[in-house]
């Protein structure tokens, strides 16, 4: 790690998910007495990246604040407006945003348990501990906060499900790696191939991002109040960086209908002539144990994929362009299509020029897992298949997930048991990114919720989609359904499911800023 990465100023969540601390709880707080709250937050010592490397932790606290929270704490509006517009407007800030994120119908913010109006959190405290010490830490922190001008609107507990999410699939398998050493120059020839190693500026504000420019960050001029508390900004001399070492944290509470998921899969598998587990696995794109449905390419080495991780992450979708092994619309293909800057990798300057000008796309056509016969000559204009270049380059649209499961864990047979009550389980989805619009919102809107992803039609993410028809009358004559799911490879008559129900409902959410430690002090000095 380079010396100018100030690890003592970065909250540890950017570095670790606190895996060994299997207990976790999220306290959502509102500011009642700004002065007392500021004093308390100013004295809070969130665990930093430097703390992680120095000792074995028994517990950890991380803190993040919404734009409404900054206002409530007394930070000047003029300064808040320097944060990114998405953060300032908030997750529920406009109907257009709600539409893009799929927060309509049953997901509409009006029906959320938290996130809107009086239930919009100001401060988020993320507490991590060994499970037996969790309730004590939560009670202690909660009473301390409530004694200091903050009021808890919710304490969201979590369940250690042993690494799987409530449907039973191994979770958090694919994560981007970050270039903490800052050894990599983004945008070179190497990025014409897929990379899992990203510039630090994709999670931390103030550092260089994948475009090779510093990630947008709110600045404070030298003459403004307490500016000297903050790290020095890159660029104009004297300016201080309020965002540096901080990150935007997206929090969404996703309720999972475990019984609905397995029941539908059970019925649909019978109709489609398959078994429920394989159907569910094609929807996810991985086996329940995390193994991908894609064959490995021997000799493939992906930057940022640890050799120990190769069996679950050492693959690309290039070998399966038609989605025969892993459907094009499968969850993992939507969440990270593993695309590179160039749709077919790198093969010399002339070829690159042709690709850039859009004159050729599918060049290396040696699908290993394809049984669908394609024309031999699909190499040179006009024989091109634009579908192969339909999805954007992944490296600009990655997020670092830090979520935890909650509720009761049940297995497939319990889920199919009609006598069993609903387990009320789900995922507290948390992710870090430096550009909410280009990262989280893009993944959610253009890939997950988009019914036209990768040239498909009428289907959203088979797990997360809200199934809301789009467009609607009067724009078109009949509502266009989005509740399909196509899995090629099966008999043509049975490959498409229609009327897939909604399995995941958004129960709450907000955009937070997870400040650097000095920025937290500065906020507390308002």
């Amino acid at each position: 790690m380079r010396l100018d990465v100030d690890t003592a100023d970065i909250q540890a969540l950017a570095w670790t998910a606190f895996g060994p601390l299997t207990g976790a709880s999220y306290l959502l707080l509102r500011v009642e007495n700004p002065e007392a709250a500021r004093r308390w937050l100013g004295a809070l010592k969130p665990t930093s990246v430097a703390d992680i490397s120095s000792a074995c932790l028994a517990e950890a606290t991380q803190v993040a604040i919404t734009a409404a929270g900054l206002t409530a704490l007394g930070v000047e509006k003029e300064v808040i407006d320097r944060f990114s517009p998405e953060f300032v407007e908030g997750m529920t800030g406009s109907p257009n945003r709600s539409h893009r994120l799929g927060d309509i119908g049953a997901n509409a913010p009006e029906s959320w348990e938290w996130g809107v109006g009086e239930r919009e959190p100001h401060v988020l405290l993320m507490l991590f501990a060994e499970p037996d010490r969790m309730s004590e830490l939560e009670a202690k922190t909660r009473s301390a906060a409530e004694a200091s001008g903050l009021r808890a609107i919710a304490a969201l507990g979590t369940t250690d499900m042993g690494g799987v999410e409530p449907f039973g699939f191994l979770d958090g398998v694919s994560q981007p790696a970050f270039d903490w050493d800052r050894a990599r120059t983004p945008g070179t020839k190497a990025d014409r191939k897929y990379t899992n190693l990203l510039a630090l500026g994709e999670i931390l504000l103030g550092y260089y991002n994948e475009y090779g420019f510093p990630a947008d960050s709110p600045r404070v001029a030298a003459h403004e109040r307490n500016a000297d508390l903050l790290p020095i900004a890159a660029g104009p001399a004297g300016a201080r960086d309020l965002g540096r070492n901080g990150s935007y944290l997206v929090f969404r509470q996703l309720g999972q209908d475990v019984r609905g998921f397995w029941r539908w899969t059970h019925e649909e598998a019978a109709r489609g002539g398959t078994d429920l587990k394989s159907l569910a696995e094609t929807m996810v794109g991985r086996r329940m144990n995390g193994a991908p449905l894609i064959d490995f390419e021997t000799g493939l080495s992906i930057p940022g994929v640890d050799p120990s991780d190769r069996d679950v992450n050492g693959f690309l979708f290039d070998s399966d362009p038609d989605g025969l092994a892993c459907p094009l619309g499968a969850h993992i293909r939507r969440a990270n299509p593993r695309t590179a800057d160039s749709p077919a990798g790198e093969d010399g300057p002339i070829d690159h020029l042709l690709v850039m000008l859009g004159l050729t796309t599918r060049r290396l056509r040696n699908p290993t897992s394809s049984t669908l016969p394609w024309e031999k000559n699909t190499t040179v204009w006009p024989y091109l298949r634009r579908e192969d270049d339909a999805v954007a380059s992944s490296r600009f649209h990655r997020i670092l997930r830090r979520g935890r499961e909650y509720g009761e864990q049940i297995d497939v047979s319990q889920a199919l048991d009609p006598a069993r009550p609903d387990p009320k389980a789900g995922l507290h989805f948390l992710c870090l990114n430096s550009n909410i619009n280009r990262q989280f919102e893009f993944v959610q809107g253009a890939w997950i919720a988009n019914a036209k992803f990768a040239s498909l039609t009428g289907e959203q993410d088979p797990l997360i989609g809200n199934r809301q028809p789009f467009p609607l009358p009067p724009v078109c004559q009949t509502p266009q359904p989005t509740d399909g799911f196509t899995r090629p490879g099966a008999e043509p008559q049975r490959r498409r499911s229609v009327g897939v129900p909604q399995f995941i409902t958004v129960k709450g959410g907000a955009y937070f800023f997870m400040p650097g430690l000095r920025a937290l002090k500065w906020i507390a000095s308002a």
């Binding site: 406009s94 036209k452 008559q493």
Partner: protein, 433 residues
């Protein structure tokens, strides 16, 4: 095939009539869908004309004239115009005349314009105000509205029929699908390409090639040194300007963006209109005109099959210069969310953005014409949102369908009408359904 054509009418609107005209235009839109034209609105029922792909009415009201403060040689103020743009099949001039004749509402709209004359021949009046775009792009040259609609219907029917097929043998399946769908869908035969269009197109394609060849073959000693000198001079002059042009900071106005967003995401396709001033002087204008001429030529002859470079989501686009070439406006119709469109553009074709827009005042600084510029992601995104203006009325002939949908549906139709396919071909064809 039926070639596509377009018309763009630009007429000045006195500033005090802009607001009332905007209110009138708002009456043409669907309830709760600002900007989305009601296809059967009383003033200008776009839906009646089955050759129109896209149509728009937009008040070209420039918010960025203040940026000209750094160039005192430019006039401080410019007129506001009404722009009426249509992309259609067949001859646009004939369509414009027909619309002028048949739509009285069009007169009502243009009556707000500065020099509207109720006694003049309205069609002629409109034609005199037509401007020719410096560059135009059509996603798929030759695909007509009728084709797009009929093929969408065909796919729908095939999709419904497919699960009912009883056989797994490709040939039998094809026969079953054909008989299930046959008779329920009209597929108008695609007419032959008009021969005069073909000749003109060939001439347009060959002209620059022939000129270049003649110069190089017959006058190589003059042409080659001249080209080299020109290249050196242009490069030096360009670099000097890139390093010394005043930098104008583009702010972010959340209220403005909210206003723009009101007109977005009613359909899978969105409209985009943006305008701005070109940096003063013959150099920037000359360079811009040359670049747009190249884009226009390439769009007409090479990029005719579903992609503007790597961007496969644009249906139609036009770059147009107005006000004595001091200003330009850009219109496009693209699939997906605005943000995704911009990301796509930056990541797949930043060089193209830099080429075609870097002569605009306030464009993010470029290096050697094609580098940096739009790659300064946030600066570029603020630049384009700030220059974007709401499209008052926007019509699309095939809601719910993206450019990629249209291309796929056309492939399905080809298979459907093919006399014979082998088993592999049929499997590929069924996979597309």
């Amino acid at each position: 095939m039926i070639p596509q054509d377009s018309f763009i009418v630009v007429a000045e609107v006195p500033k005090d009539r802009v607001a009332p005209l905007r209110s009138l235009l708002a009456t043409m839109t669907l309830p709760d869908c600002p900007g989305a034209a009601d296809p059967m609105n009383a003033l200008l029922p776009f839906g009646v004309f089955d050759t129109i792909h896209f149509g728009r009415l937009v008040l070209l009201e420039d918010n960025t004239l203040g940026d000209r403060a750094v160039y005192p040689e430019l006039p401080k103020d410019e007129p506001t115009h009404l722009c009426f743009m249509v992309d259609c099949d067949g001859d646009a001039t004939a369509l414009l005349s027909r619309m002028a004749r048949e739509c009285n509402g069009l007169r009502q709209i243009f009556a707000y314009c500065a020099d509207y004359d109720a006694n003049a021949d309205f069609a002629e009046w409109l034609k005199r105000r037509r401007v020719k775009p410096a560059a135009s792009y059509v996603n798929w040259v030759g695909r007509s509205v009728t084709q797009a609609r009929e093929e969408a219907r065909l796919r729908e029917l095939l999709r419904d029929a497919l699960p009912k097929a009883s056989s797994n043998d490709p040939q039998q399946m094809l026969a079953e699908l054909r008989s299930a769908v046959g008779g329920r869908v009209t597929l108008t035969p695609i007419p032959p390409t008009p021969s005069d269009w073909r000749m003109r197109n060939l001439g347009h394609f060959l002209a620059p090639i022939v000129i270049a060849a003649v110069c190089l073959v017959f006058f190589p000693l003059m042409t080659i040194p001249l080209l080299i000198i020109a290249l050196i001079v242009v490069t030096i002059e360009l670099r000097r300007r890139e390093l010394s042009d005043p930098i104008v900071v583009n702010g972010y106005d959340p209220e403005w963006v909210d206003k723009l967003r009101l007109g977005e995401d009613h359909d899978v396709t969105n409209q985009y209109t943006a305008m701005g001033s070109i940096k003063p002087g013959k150099f920037r204008l000359g360079l811009e005109l040359v670049i747009l001429a190249v884009i226009d030529w390439a769009a007409r002859h090479i990029l005719t099959r579903g992609g503007l470079g790597r961007i496969g989501t644009i249906h139609f686009a036009h770059w147009t210069l107005i006000d004595g070439k001091r200003r330009a406006f850009f219109c496009s119709n693209y699939d997906g969310f605005h943000e995704a469109y911009m990301d796509d553009f930056i990541n797949k074709a930043a060089f193209g953005l830099n080429l075609s827009f870097s002569s605009a005042i306030a464009y993010p600084q470029t290096d050697w014409l094609i580098k940096k510029g739009a790659w300064r992601e946030m600066e570029f995104k603020r630049f384009q949102r700030r220059h974007q203006i709401p499209t008052d009325v926007w019509y699309k002939a095939y809601p719910g369908l993206t450019a990629r949908d249209l291309a796929r549906n056309a492939r399905i139709r080809n298979g459907f009408e093919k006399a014979a396919m082998d088993d592999d071909e049929i499997r590929r064809w069924i996979a597309e359904i």
